[in-house]
Amino acid sequence: MFRRLLRNPLSAFGLVVIALLVLLAVLAPVLAPYPEDAVGATVRPERQFEPPSGEFWFGTDDLGRDLFSRVLFGARISLVAGCMTIGLALLIGVPLGLAAGYAGGLVDEIIMRVTDIMLSFPPLLLAVALAAAFGPSLTNAVLATGLAWWPWYTRIIRSAAAGIRSREYVEAARAAGAGHATIMGRHILPNALPPVLVQASMDFGSVVLTTAALGFLGLGAQAPQPEWGLMVAIGRNYFLTHPWVVVFPGLGILITVMAFNFLGDGLREVLDPRLGRARR
């Protein structure tokens, strides 16, 4: 499967870029010319808004900090926040879906109706409303996005679990006296999980985009964190005269999200040669 992914030029490109991003994020403290600037430990107010130069590759921001270092560190925030968000969504969505699919009946009905209700909000809208209520911070933004995202996974895993429930080996396990927990954990989950994981990896780009959007609305990371969406939001006040403060952090978002979406697109192609219905 991996080989087939690499054969598709778009997903191959996506994979390479992702690998590069991860590398940059991990090595940011070594690669950044001014790592102190990234975390807000240094300022040079007298050198604010300097255009890109050999000294400051991406120019400086409103407090004279090196934008290149900050954008580099921004990759760490976006990747980590993305992983946490997806993780949280899976943590909520998978058990609920499993329970609904396995138990069926009333439990199924209740869980799925709640899921439907959650899905009647566009995901960004719900994330915005929740983040606004939780108060602005990166953690809360991750929490809000995760809480808005889980219903998608509940749906997928439920239908997978419902399909597996009546399979022979599950019946056999039940006949052998295995408890519900064992059956769910040992027999159903491993078989129902793969499609969810695939979906989750395809969602990564959207999650990064949502986190950045929350940052842009002031509901995510807080200054002086070098979060890309926040950097664009702050730069909005100055970009007509100093475009670089907005251009580079935005490119960071674009490249990251695009790389993951390329990969996701390739995945879809590989897993379903006839191309199943894309959900979103």
Partner: protein
Amino acid sequence: MRAFIIRRLFLSAVAVLGVAVITFVVARLVPADPAARWVGPHATAEQIARARVELGLDQPLWRQLITHMAALAVGDWGRSIITHQPVIRDIAAHLPTSLVLVAAGTLLAVALGIPLGVVSAAARNRWPDHLSRALAIGLVSIPTFWLAMILQLWLGQGAGLLPIAGQVDTVLSLLSPVPRVTGALVVDSLLAGRFDVFRSALAHLVMPALTVAAYPLGLITRMVRSSMMEVLSEDYVRTARAYGVAERRILYRHALRNAMGPTLTVIALSLGYALTGTFLVEAVFAWPGLGRYAANAVIGGDFPAIVGVTVVVALAYVLLNLVVDLAQAALDPRVRYD
């Protein structure tokens, strides 16, 4: 069929009820005292206490929930803390302007997305396909708020082609205001026969509409491509081909028509997304619609307004999905009724 419709309506009603409950929970999660904000920055303790009673915040929680639902039902959505106006009036005032933007953006997306998707499907795995796929993925990956600023820099400031922000030229709107009929300036100016205002409003609409169009355009292109491909691999298409039916005819007559179902779903989805997307776009373009209103509410912690906008957008979304499902059921007998 009838059972399907009834069930679908019932589910929509449950969703609407759920929306009301969730928004109430959201509003109650807020740590801040709405009464304090209501009376302004230099208020006295008595003024706050009075506002608390006025806003019903002294009631028990379950009671507030019932009051909240009842109030939503009768259109009493509270007053915005920032504007001090009834939220429902604020929304009514701002919604038409946003709908213009959403409609223009979606139209653009449909007009460009369908041909792009068709080309992609027809040229599967050849360079036009790769190109249009890359473009589609790029479009769904662009942060819209950033795209908005890049367009401002490039088309507005750099090339000087388009006005950077606003809905219409200020001088023009001040010299002779157009009477408000629908609330949407492009429509109202036409109704009033004011082509000068119409031209100006149209010029102001281009950049925001392009920005709003980006994401749906990507979605539609992808969906048209994938559902066309599915259809193209069906037996009847192969048969048609074998009988020598022109490729063009196959593409547009058979494949595209059959691909319209899922595409319709995606268009409805995009409308909902575009409505939320205006939160990120309108503020950048100073577009006086619901999105800018919502963004200001978020920054200012104006919860009655946030809840109001959330309810409206979620309702629109539920309704759109309902309409699409029903339409599909009516048009396409293959849709499963479960």
